[in-house]
Structure formats: structure tokens, C-alpha cells
């Protein structure tokens, strides 16, 4: 049995970081949150442009993303700030959603606090107290079954499906074999690989949900005048050697590894308790996709990329892996692993999978990603379905 050392939470989950989150409930609390985080050691602010004048389905999504992020095991405590009461997504609503985790929570309303300066003082004092308490907590041994492993790909090229994606899938298989759970999102990239994916589903019910998810995403895109089949593969993809959408999607879906799909999740919804691979509805947009996986409770994510990437979630360490030597040479400032040896025949896919697994385990034990060290937490984004009103 493999163990990692993490922060045990009152609800039985285990974090791999002990972040104090300063969470903006609305766009108008963003700068206050960033300011407070800059004053407090170990604090990270999450900013976003939403939380006001959204259509109801979008307001519910915003709340789900914010609450899920606050509830993520990597968050030790959270200060939530809003500026006015947006019914259905107030700081108190979000706090109530997070409270079953038993973690330290404080809320600040800018208006009720008497304006920006008083609210900044109040939030800073809450953060100070929570930071003191978090600094008492120590890492303890936990089984790998406590892990929810996230997988995503982006800026993909011909190397992705042949090296970094299958290596990520083999890592996922190892985690699932230890009783853990994995989440793969990006519904747009299942299109053309549906038969393969549904063949991995544990039941007809799960297979039907996968097909319905793909149909829904395709219809939503068509309603916006975008036929995903027409743009996939893109002109660039075709120049790069991708011939059909099946080829492109199969390359992406190699992240799924060889494990059966135990259930289908709506966007940003937590998986069930059963170990195994979960597929989640969501867009190909990298920041929205990894943010939905973090909001579902994933503590660590491997991002497989052909062209190289800077993507990094504020509270979920984002490990970047490439199988493209040139991309590694250009982008290694923000990347952890180079598995291009697979394509040169120097290492096997199984060895590459072990490299990814070892990196994930080290990250769970506290090794910082390069993006964490560089404070380049650039990728928090909330999916939306409608217009601003």
C-alpha cells in the first residue's frame, strides 16, 4: 500500500497543501482579496469576473465552483468576501456549502463592514487568526485511496496521444489500483471516441450519460454557430498530421488509461466514494476544465501538453508533462516532466507512467511545482452557459 503525507481534514479528506484561501464572492471583491493575500503568509486569493447579474443557471454554477474550491481538501481555511448580497450566491451561502468539511471559515461583507478599508481590516484579522491555527497542523501518513487525481490536456500535438497522455493514463491506473479516484473532463474531446469510452463504462446507464453529455456539448456549440466536427481537427491539426476527429479524440482519451469508467459527473460535481475513473462534463477550455476538477475535490492534477504550458490552478498543484523535446527545452520553466524518451525508444510507456506517478507522489508529499514556486497561479475560471444580464 502506497502512502502519502498530507493534512487530514475533519471530514476525513486529506489535503496535500494547507492553503489559506481568500475567496472573492463577486468580481467587486477581487482586489480586496488580492490585497489581503499579499499581507498574509501562505494565503492565496482567488479572483474571477462573476458572481453578479448572472442568469440563474450561471449563478448556480458560480456558487458550485466557488463552494467546491473552498471545500477542496488542499484548503485549510477560507475567508470569503462579497461586496453586496447577491441572493443565491452570498458569502454566507458559500460558507454554508463549505461548512460540512469542518474547516475554518470566515465571511466579510464589504458594505456591512462599513466600506473597503474596514472590510480589508476585518478580512486581514480573520486571515491572521486562521493562518496561526493552520501553522499548527502537521502532515500525517494517509493511504493513496484518499487521493482524487485530476487529468487534463492542452496545447496538444502529435506527441500528446503517443507519450504524455498514455503515461498520465498509466499513472491514473496505478492510483485507482490503490483505491483512489481519477477525474477526466473535456467533453469536447470525447467526440469521436464515444464508442471506446462507452465501452469502458461499468453500466449502460453510465454509457448513456456519456453519450448524452457529448450530444449536449455538440448541440450547445452548434447553437452558437460552431460545428465542433468542422473545427476538429482544425486546419493546424491537419497540417500537424491529425487526419480525423477520431484520431484527435483518441489521443486525448489515452489519458483515461485502462481503468473502467465508474460514473459520469456533471461539471464541478464531486465524485462518489467508489474508487475508479470518473468522466466529467465540461469544455475544452483549460482553465475552466481544471477549475471544475479542483471544485470537484481533486488535490493534484497532471496536465499533459505537446506544445508546453504555463497553466496552474491556485489551490490544486498542476504538474505539467510533455513528450515533445523541443517544448521541454522552450517551456521547462513551468514544466515538471519530459517523457519524450518514449518516442525515441529510450524508455517504455510503462516507465513514463512510473515517472508521472513518482512526480505525483512527490508533489502530494510537499514538493512544489515550478508554477507554485514562481507564484504563477494563473488558471481559475468558472464555466458559464448564458449571458450577463
Amino acid at each position: 500500500m502506497t502512502e502519502f503525507f498530507g493534512y487530514p481534514r475533519p471530514d476525513g479528506s486529506v489535503g496535500i497543501r494547507n492553503t489559506l484561501l481568500i475567496l472573492a464572492g463577486t468580481v467587486y471583491a477581487n482586489k480586496l482579496c488580492a490585497h489581503v493575500a499579499s499581507l498574509i503568509q501562505g494565503a492565496i486569493a482567488i479572483e474571477h469576473p462573476l458572481g453578479r447579474t448572472q442568469v440563474k443557471p450561471d449563478l448556480r454554477l458560480t456558487r458550485r465552483f466557488l463552494s467546491g474550491t473552498g471545500a477542496n481538501p488542499n484548503v485549510g481555511g477560507v475567508v470569503i468576501v462579497d461586496h453586496f448580497q447577491e441572493l443565491g450566491c452570498t458569502a454566507e451561502d458559500i460558507a454554508q456549502d463549505i461548512s460540512p468539511t469542518g474547516k475554518l471559515i470566515a465571511t466579510v461583507n464589504i458594505r456591512k463592514s462599513g466600506g473597503l478599508i474596514s472590510a480589508t481590516e476585518k478580512a486581514t484579522r480573520y486571515a491572521l487568526e486562521i493562518a496561526r491555527q493552520l501553522s499548527n497542523q502537521r502532515r500525517e501518513a494517509a493511504p493513496l485511496s484518499k487521493l482524487i487525481f485530476g487529468m487534463n490536456c492542452g496545447t496538444s500535438d502529435t506527441t500528446s496521444g503517443l507519450s504524455s497522455n498514455p503515461a498520465t493514463g498509466l499513472c491514473s491506473d496505478k492510483i485507482i489500483a490503490e483505491g483512489g479516484r481519477s477525474i477526466m473532463a473535456e467533453t469536447t474531446e470525447w467526440m469521436g471516441a464515444e464508442v471506446w469510452l462507452t465501452g469502458k463504462a461499468v453500466s449502460k446507464e453510465v454509457a448513456d450519460k456519456i453519450m448524452a453529455g457529448v450530444a449536449d456539448m455538440e448541440a450547445r456549440a452548434l447553437a452558437s454557430g460552431e460545428d465542433i466536427r468542422g473545427s476538429q481537427p482544425t486546419g493546424d491539426n491537419i497540417l500537424g498530421g491529425l487526419t480525423t476527429i477520431e484520431e484527435k479524440s483518441m489521443g486525448a482519451c489515452k489519458k483515461a488509461g485502462n481503468s473502467p469508467i465508474v460514473d459520469y459527473l456533471d461539471i464541478a460535481m464531486p465524485p462518489g466514494s467508489q474508487p475508479g475513473l470518473y468522466v466529467m462534463y465540461g469544455p475544452g477550455h483549460g482553465a475552466e476544465s481544471i477549475s471544475s476538477i479542483a471544485a470537484a475535490g481533486s488535490q493534484v492534477l497532471v496536465f499533459s501538453t505537446g506544445g508546453g504550458h504555463t497553466i496552474s490552478h491556485p489551490i490544486m498543484p498542476t504538474i505539467k508533462v510533455t513528450g515533445h523535446q523541443e517544448s521541454w527545452d522552450l517551456m521547462k520553466d513551468t514544466m515538471e516532466l519530459n517523457v519524450s524518451g518514449v518516442l525515441r525508444g529510450e524508455i517504455s510507456l510503462e516507465q513514463a507512467g512510473q515517472m508521472v506517478f513518482d512526480e505525483v507522489l512527490a508533489t502530494c508529499n510537499g514538493r512544489l511545482t515550478k508554477s507554485e514556486i514562481l507564484k504563477d497561479d494563473n488558471s481559475f475560471a468558472i464555466h458559464r452557459v448564458g449571458i450577463s444580464i
Binding site: G192, D227, R229, G241, T243, T244, K254, E326, V342, L343
Partner: protein, 102 residues
């Protein structure tokens, strides 16, 4: 010898993934899940593109990742460049669907 990468044993194409470009007439071997096939390139194979490892008859499936990625639209010889000129998606193409509606 130049090589292409093969991800599953059931595949009938390999992918050019090394910077050393494959030219028409080159002898090409394989790495990955198939290591014992050698073909002579019948065309230049750009980086990222596919080469046939076996004969694929018109109407047969082009296999990569151990699965069909499309149907051959003409007879393909070992060493041929395999791409949009001789493979068609089974899932359909949005641009053709849009043209059909017009």
C-alpha cells in the same frame, strides 16, 4: 534507420515523431508496441504524420491507438503517407455537413 512510433500492436500505421524527417525512398523501422516492421517510404512523411505499415484496402479501417480512426478511401500500400487524401472520418465532418445544408 529512421523510425516511426506505434502506440498499439493492432495498429496499421506509425507516426513520424522524430525531427529527422522521412523522405521518399527512406527505409523506415518502428518503435513502441511494434518493433519488427520495416517499410520503404513511398512519399515524404512530414513530422507528426502517419505512414502505412501494412496494406490497407479501400473500405478497410485505419487503425491507431488500437482503434479505427477512419476508413481508407483508396487502396493504401505499405510506406504510403496516410492522411486526409486517403482516409475519411467515420464520425462525419462538420464542414461537409454545413455544405450539404446550403
Amino acid at each position: 534507420m529512421k523510425t516511426v512510433f506505434v502506440i498499439e500492436a493492432a495498429d496499421n500505421v506509425g507516426t513520424a515523431v522524430l525531427e529527422d524527417l522521412i523522405r521518399q525512398g527512406d527505409t523506415v523501422g518502428t518503435t513502441g508496441r511494434i518493433t519488427d516492421v520495416t517499410v520503404t517510404a513511398r512519399a515524404d512523411i512530414p513530422y507528426g504524420h502517419k505512414i502505412a505499415l501494412r496494406p490497407i484496402k479501400k473500405g478497410e479501417q485505419v487503425m491507431k491507438y488500437g482503434l479505427s480512426i477512419g476508413t481508407a478511401t483508396e487502396d493504401i500500400q505499405p510506406g504510403d503517407h496516410v492522411h486526409i487524401h486517403n482516409v475519411e472520418s467515420n464520425r462525419g465532418r462538420g464542414d461537409l455537413a454545413a455544405a450539404g445544408k446550403k
